[in-house]
Amino acid sequence: MKVDVERQILAANDVLATENRARFADAGVFVLDLMASPGAGKTSTILATIDALCDRYSIAVVEGDIASKVDAEKVRAHGIPAVQINTGGACHLESAMVRRAVETLDLVALDLVIIENVGNLVCPSDFDLGENAKVMILSVPEGHDKPLKYPNIFQVSEAVILNKYDTLGVFDFDEAQFRAVVGSLNPSAPVFPLSATKGDGVQAWAEWLAARIESARGDAS
């Protein structure tokens, strides 16, 4: 006999993501899921964001990597609490991993938690972690054709950071084409050209994030 099931296939992850989301909202903390290829500048962007916003917001970072504590150590050296998740082979973070990681954080005392996802332009875009917003970084050396090749991550992100903008003269990067394709995938996502290590353009990105944090607070009250 046939039985209607009507259930989501990724229900296990989505149920936990919904619980995470409720928990973050109750604690009044804004959670950002930052995604990009390995080496695109996730950690550098996080450090620059911390520099721009730590006077206004209490920040912690959840680092996701297949192995090593390299990134968590960099963040801690910058004076910010960091939790390192080692996935041991999984190429993306899932909501259960994030739930465990935030056990050691005082969420109520925090304003912003940045989750640095595993370096990957494919899988992280498919998994809800319970975040307020997903943002992705594409770096100039990777090439302007990446939105054509990896459309989903550009489509699910609220904003696109174009990092290593200072290297535009070195690489054959067609910014107009890049912006046109991103616009066709996700017309409402702003593009923030910046250099995370040099600081140019970081302010505009940080102000956008601050506005998002304030907007989420406004929605909550």
Partner: protein, 114 residues
């Protein structure tokens, strides 16, 4: 996409639903998958065949319905089908304020059990 993880999710949910009905065997599982998920049906069937062994779904057929992408314009109410790159703009009025109706589904519709 993670066809193995998806197949595993399908198997778990199907078995859960079958156990609620006191079933002894699952004959078929019907799923709907939107094309924007980029799930490859061949890879999914391969993963399904591998994972169902030794379970009550051992001989279960996985019936996959691929759903095309479609959206509705919130300005003029026009509904249209589209691909990955041409869905953001309403072809009738040019508005970018559109909502996706279909294309990202990843769900189990029904199971056939004994």
């Amino acid at each position: 996409m993670h066809e193995l993880g998806i197949a595993s999710g399908i198997l778990t949910s199907a078995i859960d639903a079958a156990e609620v009905e006191d079933a002894v065997r699952i004959n078929a599982v019907d799923v709907s998958i939107g094309v924007l998920t980029e799930v490859m049906e061949e890879a999914l069937q391969f993963a399904w065949a591998a994972l169902r062994s030794g379970t009550m779904a051992e001989a279960a057929v996985l019936n996959v319905t691929m759903l095309g992408a479609s959206s509705r314009c919130t300005d003029c109410a026009h509904e249209y089908t589209h691909g990955r790159f041409d869905g953001a703009k309403c072809p009738a009025c040019g508005s970018y304020i559109v909502e996706l109706l279909h294309g990202r589904e990843l769900k189990i519709d029904s199971i056939d059990i004994d």
